[in-house]
Symmetry: C2
Subunit: 200 residues, 2 copies
């Protein structure tokens, strides 16, 4: 950039650009917004960034992000110990919690098996999942995302835990609410047919 841009500005633009989905244009828009905005906005952001890693840990049981270990869900005696939903990311825990219809516990893998990206089973919390299985656990809901990597990861876990006497299920595939048969892809429609349920 030209000499018209002072270094602190360039540095912040570069730091924003390092975030996913933020290109140089958005980064400079954000930077110049902060230059004009009240100092409290950049101060809040800076403080929150500092606290993010220093004040959080992974729950030693489910590996969700938490301030206190074990996390509130693992501590909550009302949560069903017989049910573990295995998800890819902490955000997926949130998504399931939002349904307000799941009373079990979680296990966060922190990724999916992805040979292309050099991520193998040992890079995920799969071994830790096996170690959690005790007589309490009756069912593992493998809630990885549908798609190549999520499916491969689900299959790996299924084989890994086979013979441990625990039921393993996957989330239903089908047409999403508000979806339109005409626009739904063939694989989804096929799954919806296979998974059809009796009415009434």
């Amino acid at each position: 950039m030209s000499s018209a841009v002072p270094e602190p500005v360039t540095k912040l633009i570069e730091a924003f650009s390092a975030l996913p989905g933020i290109g140089p244009k958005t980064a400079s828009r954000l930077t110049y917004f902060l230059l004009r905005a009240p100092a409290s906005i950049s101060q809040n952001l800076s403080d929150a960034l500092d606290d993010l890693k220093s004040k959080t840990v992974l729950c030693s049981t489910c590996f969700n992000i938490t301030v206190d270990d074990p996390c509130p869900i693992c501590r909550d005696e009302r949560r069903d110990k017989r049910l573990i939903a295995v998800v890819e990311e902490p955000l997926d825990v949130l998504a399931i919690e939002r349904t307000a219809s799941y009373t079990g516990r979680y296990h966060v893998l922190h990724g999916v098996i992805s040979p292309v990206n050099g991520v193998g089973p040992d890079d995920l919390k799969i071994r830790e999942l096996a170690q959690r299985l005790d007589n309490d656990v009756l069912e593992i809901i493998i809630a990885t995302n549908p798609g190549l990597e999520g499916d491969a990861t689900a299959m790996f876990i299924q084989r890994d835990l086979a013979g441990k006497g625990v039921k393993m299920t996957r989330l239903a595939r089908g047409i999403p609410m508000g979806g339109d048969l005409e626009y739904v892809d063939a694989v989804t429609l096929m799954r919806a047919l296979q998974g059809r349920s009796e009415m009434g």
Copy 2:
């Protein structure tokens, strides 16, 4: 948000959401990205945020953002003192510098006159522009954005400085490079007709 989200995560999501164009979804995506990313990425961002305001000032001459006052452009004796481009924001200076075809100096208003948003002439660096006019300055290029507020601001400045013996110009309106007559709005096309120039 539910108890599944620890407070430091919520706080960062909120801090990101305070930025323009970043909704709650993007904010949580960024936050969970930073949780997994190397600590240096959030550290860099946090440091850059801290430096942004503490290490920059407004140039006391042109009011562009700068580390040293006066700014590099105002200090540069090769820049034509007879020409001042009046722009709304520091980003506009950048845009003009990128053309590599302007050798004059700048004046940053830091906004436009906007009664709706409660911004009057006194909230901008308009008085400071008048104070800069000396015998050196021959022409002021009012480079505010085309549109209601930019045009009103240009008109205000033109009246304010009338009779000071300085030539005032505006940037040409017309069809942008790669633009298509069919899709250009009527006002732009009208301006392009009015501003037509002789060929060869």
